[in-house]
């Protein structure tokens, strides 16, 4: 141990045996903001689930898109609203309530600032309202769970800083020297979400509500899924684990199972999670090493995740009897079980060959809903049922209703997941099925959709049950609140006595555990820098040092001396710094190489022509309508994908795509190589009424595009912005954009007119068709015709 004897004096975590020994502080907790966050979470929980039920219906029954009422309610625009509401409004507000309530009690201090608490609350709600208005209007950055446009992104950053200042300010004035495991998870949440949000939202603003990602193509894909996966990790997992560590032992009235398990699973989780992002991009054009790292770290992530589940379930295990009578315990036990299930399914889905089947299908949809409805939702409900009566000084209004809610929720999730598992696996198998002669068994994509469509109705039913449960809870909790009144909690706690001689921070920073970590990092660097034999040796040694070092450190049974980690728990700032380093390593190792490598190194040295101005406008319409929610643009390295969609996608294909449009779900077919596949008229007919060309399609109609026009004068600003992030538009291209668009639009409009359809050359319809006809044809070597000949993507049809 690298402690000094003086460090033994530190031990103020317990009430002194005789209160008169030390000075007592009287503190009143700020529970007002907690009550507000709970109310907001319930309101937005209803909104989020309601929109979820609506989009589920839209997939099963296309008239639910309410296209006659306008474009605002189509699936492509509502689906981001559903995900944002569920993640950031429902779970976000619940998380803030839990963090603020538990942190005050765990560190024995009132929240740092009432003003900041209120600013945090109202600022967050304003952001949610801005999202609820701007997403249906079509303002989107087209990056999943990060759709909100740049002004809202800035607001999120500011409010997150308010949250961080308020939280760390509370820690700074704490009267409990040591930070409990829940607080570790809260620290990891605040630091990591800040880093993820800022990097992934980096964009070049064009207009008040329009911007382009500074990253393009595969780089953007890598950054987005580094963000996307870790939004799951650090917005939906770590804060809820922290909440679990406070509310589960409280509700179970049992001790937390294992402190050493907390230590090892916390550090393993925050370090490993950040590497797992590329598992969203398996079997694509992403460089193989990044795919391998994404898969490997996802598999290794399984035990650390289960460490949290074990600590939760083994805590409850001491009091199974309570599970039968207390709805709170039912929600917690089921929630933690869903966590265990999802964190087993996640690594499974990250295995390349499993991903080959499951990716882009409803299996992934089942997986994420197991996490959100099962883990986040049930933990939220458990926390609400435990907390609200205590915050209002009454008993829960109806235990029976809470029990009914539990069954509605769990059965609803079961129906949801079973139907989506079946749909996903079924469709995945159909899409890869081939006849003995090697041709596709299901030659058209829509055949597979029609087969699974009944399951979309079943899923709708499951979602409806879950929504009913939330409504029941809201009624129950409102009745509870009405019966009581807000409780003001005041406690007397001993003031924190300044340690006279603390262990110097350098001694902690260079303690055994950090030295082990430095050794592992050094060995990992050597792995990359040396030859195969030596590299292999270093890699194996690094893994052994990491695992064995971790186990040895947590096994340490000392004779009463505080361990290194115990000392660290007393140092909030140092703890935060080490957490930050742990989460940065994976991100830097995976993302930086792709940012600094030259096009040649990245294998994309082939010549690529950027989109023409009208195609760029069409692409922005594609983004606005959220087409990427159902159509991928990434043909994976499989024979059956090549047969169905065309040549496998390369890095060059999407090189100038800011943002990338690889997608994550195929409700419709991949369209990476759509260009030239069908005539303009096919696209026109399909967009006006998808079922006119594809019987059984569930795509919403986009008839209004024929009558709305593109402001061609504005394209130049977009091109100028894109030229600043590396898209090779020349000044001449930008100056001639209007002329160029008119020419291209005219050619398409004339072609349509020759086929009996009259549509304006500057209509959004024509722009979108121009974009679709260019897809997969950006590479100059694929379309070897001289540039002038590409003016009309369809030639002289």
């Amino acid at each position: 141990m690298e402690t000094t004897p003086n460090a033994l004096e530190e031990s103020l975590e317990h009430q002194p045996s005789s209160p008169s020994d030390s000075k007592m502080d009287r503190i009143t907790y700020n529970d007002d903001v907690v009550r507000k966050f709970i109310a907001a979470s319930m309101i937005f929980g209803i909104v989020g689930m309601l929109v979820g039920v609506i989009v589920a219906l839209q997939l099963a029954w296309h008239p639910a898109n309410a296209s006659a009422a306008g474009p605002w309610f189509s699936f492509g625009r509502l689906r981001p609203l559903h995900t944002n509401a569920a993640i950031f409004a429902f779970v976000g507000n619940m998380m803030f309530a839990g963090i603020y309530h538990s942190t005050q009690r765990l560190v024995k201090a009132r929240l740092f600032s009432d003003f900041l608490s209120n600013l945090h609350f109202w600022g967050w709600q304003a952001i949610i309202v801005a999202a609820a208005i701007s997403l249906p209007m079509g303002y989107t950055q087209a990056k999943e769970y990060a759709e909100l446009e740049w002004p809202i992104d800035i607001a999120i950053t500011l409010i997150w800083v308010v949250f961080a200042v308020n939280f760390f300010g509370t820690l700074a004035k704490r009267r409990e020297k040591h930070l409990y495991v829940a607080i570790w998870f809260y620290i990891a949440t605040i630091v990591t979400v800040a880093a993820l949000h800022i990097v992934n939202s980096l964009a070049i603003p064009i207009f008040a509500m329009k911007s382009y990602s500074v990253f393009g193509g595969a780089q953007d894909a890598l950054v987005q899924w580094w963000y996307g996966h870790n939004a799951v990790a650090f917005f939906l997992t770590t804060p809820i684990l922290g909440i679990m560590y406070y509310y589960v032992p409280k509700a179970a009235e049992r001790p937390v199972y294992s402190y050493r398990l907390s230590i090892i699973h916390f550090w393993a989780l925050v370090f490993i999670y950040i590497w797992a992002g590329p598992h969203h991009l398996l079997n694509t054009a992403l460089p193989a090493w990044a795919q391998t790292l994404g898969m490997v770290f996802s598999v290794v992530l399984w035990p650390p995740s289960w460490g949290g589940m074990i600590n939760g379930l083994f805590t409850i295990r001491g009091n199974w009897a309570k599970l039968r009578v207390d709805p709170v315990m039912k929600f917690f036990a089921a929630g933690i079980t869903f966590y265990g299930m999802s964190t087993f399914e996640g690594p499974l889905l990250s295995i390349k060959s499993v991903s080959a089947l499951a990716h882009y299908t409803d299996w992934i949809v089942a997986h994420v809903h197991g996490g959100t409805l099962g883990w986040n939702g049930l933990m939220a409900f458990g926390m609400f049922y435990w907390l609200v009566p205590r915050l209002y000084g009454v008993q829960l209004h109806s235990k029976k209703a809470a029990d009914a809610h539990f069954w509605l929720a769990t059965v609803g999730i079961a129906i949801y997941m079973l139907s989506m598992w079946t749909a996903g696996i079924g469709q995945g198998l159909m899409l890869r099925a081939v006849k003995p002669d090697g041709s596709l068994s299901y030659a058209t994509f829509v055949e597979t959709l029609l087969t699974i469509k009944p399951l979309y109705f079943v899923r709708f039913g499951g979602g409806l049950m879950y929504l009913t449960g939330i409504l029941l809870m809201t009624w129950n909790l409102i009745a509870t609140v009405r019966a009581g009144k807000p409780v003001v909690t005041t406690v007397d706690v001993p003031a924190l006595v300044d340690e006279k001689k603390e262990v110097p921070w350098t001694e902690l920073l260079f303690g055994k555990p950090t030295l082990i970590i430095f050794a592992v990092i050094g060995l990992a660097v050597l792995t990359g820098a040396t030859n195969l034999i030596a590299g292999s040796f270093f890699l194996v040694v690094a893994a052994m040092v990491a695992v064995l070092g971790g186990l040895v450190l947590t096994k340490k049974d000392d004779g009463g001396e505080p361990t290194w980690h115990r000392l660290l728990e007393g140092r909030g700032l140092l703890f935060t710094v080490l957490t930050t380093i742990a989460i940065l390593i994976g991100g830097v190792a995976e993302i930086v190489p792709s940012l600094v490598s030259s096009p040649t190194e990245a294998g994309i040295a082939v010549k690529v022509d950027p989109y023409r101005p009208l195609e760029l406008e069409g692409r922005d319409i594609y983004i606005r309508e959220g087409c990427y929610n159902c159509h991928s643009q990434a043909i994976r390295t499989f024979r059956y994908e090549e047969q169905r969609y065309g040549a496998v996608s390369t890095l060059a294909d999407s090189r100038y795509d800011h943002p990338f449009q690889w997608g994550s779900k195929r409700t419709g077919p991949d369209i990476a190589r759509e260009g030239g596949k069908y005539p303009n008229l096919w696209h026109y007919n399909h967009l006006v009424d998808p079922r006119a060309v594809t019987a059984g399609s569930n795509m919403p109609p986009y008839k209004f595009l024929a009558t709305s026009s593109v402001d061609l004068e504005k394209t130049r600003f977009k091109m100028r912005g894109l030229s600043k992030v590396g898209v090779p538009y020349t000044q001449a291209d930008i100056d001639g954009s209007v002329e160029n668009s008119r020419e291209q639009g005219k050619a398409i409009a004339e072609d349509l007119k020759a086929n009996g359809v009259t549509v304006a050359a500057d209509s959004e319809m024509v722009a979108l068709v121009a974009y679709l006809q260019r897809l997969g044809k950006l590479r100059v070597d694929v379309a070897p015709a001289p540039r002038s000949a590409t003016l009309d993507p369809l030639g002289t049809h």
Binding site: L106, K108, A268, T292, P304, S439, A443, L539, T554, G795
Partner: protein, 193 residues
């Protein structure tokens, strides 16, 4: 630590926070074992794929697999015999093949060429004018390989040669039937096989 209980039957209580008691139980052995196994798997997998190249990464595996399937496909096509005018004309007189072809036509072609072949988005297949040739082998080629940039997709990869041949046989039977309400003629007049 000052509060650490002496080792007894009960696991040691290490800390208390806001009345939450924290015990310090041993890590479950199966969990430790899983952690070690997963880490070992991860290291081995990384070495096998990214260092030694023992197993092929997805892009290389795909290239190899494609080469094999293409060779097999070529072999199979060779065994099926030449797809020439005579063979296709013969097929167009075989009622079973034409029936198969009609079915393929309904599910994949009718969208653009109309259920009766009279045309719509795509040209009329029942008149005497042909954009890409009306000879049996030209029809087969158009269906199989598509016409890049003209909006005729290549159906060969999806349907396979058997279904493409059946569809071609069916289209051959449509030629010159001049269905009512068909699209106006496009392309060069067809002179005969």
């Amino acid at each position: 630590m000052s509060t650490k209980a002496p080792a007894t039957a009960r696991p040691p209580v290490v800390h208390t926070y806001d009345d939450i008691i924290e015990e310090d139980n041993e890590l479950p052995k199966w969990w430790v074992g899983t952690l070690l196994l997963c880490t070992a798997f991860g290291v081995a997998y990384y070495m096998a794929y990214s260092m030694y190249g023992i197993f092929d990464n997805p892009d290389i595996a795909f290239e190899k697999e494609s080469a094999i399937t293409r060779a097999k496909e070529a072999e199979r096509l060779k065994a099926e015999g030449p797809v020439d005018k005579a063979a296709l004309l013969l097929l167009s007189k075989d009622s079973a093949t034409v029936a198969d072809g009609a079915q393929v036509f309904t599910t994949t072609c009718a969208v653009c060429h109309a259920a009766n072949g009279g045309g719509g988005i795509g040209p009329n297949l029942t008149d005497d004018a042909w954009l890409h040739g009306g000879a049996p082998d030209a029809i087969y080629k158009t269906i199989n390989e598509g016409v890049t940039g003209k909006g005729m997709p290549a159906w060969g990869p999806q349907l396979g040669s058997k279904r493409v041949k059946a569809a071609a046989a069916y289209v051959i039977t449509l030629r010159g039937t001049k269905v009512a309400g068909g699209k106006e003629a496009q392309g060069a007049p067809f002179e005969g096989d």
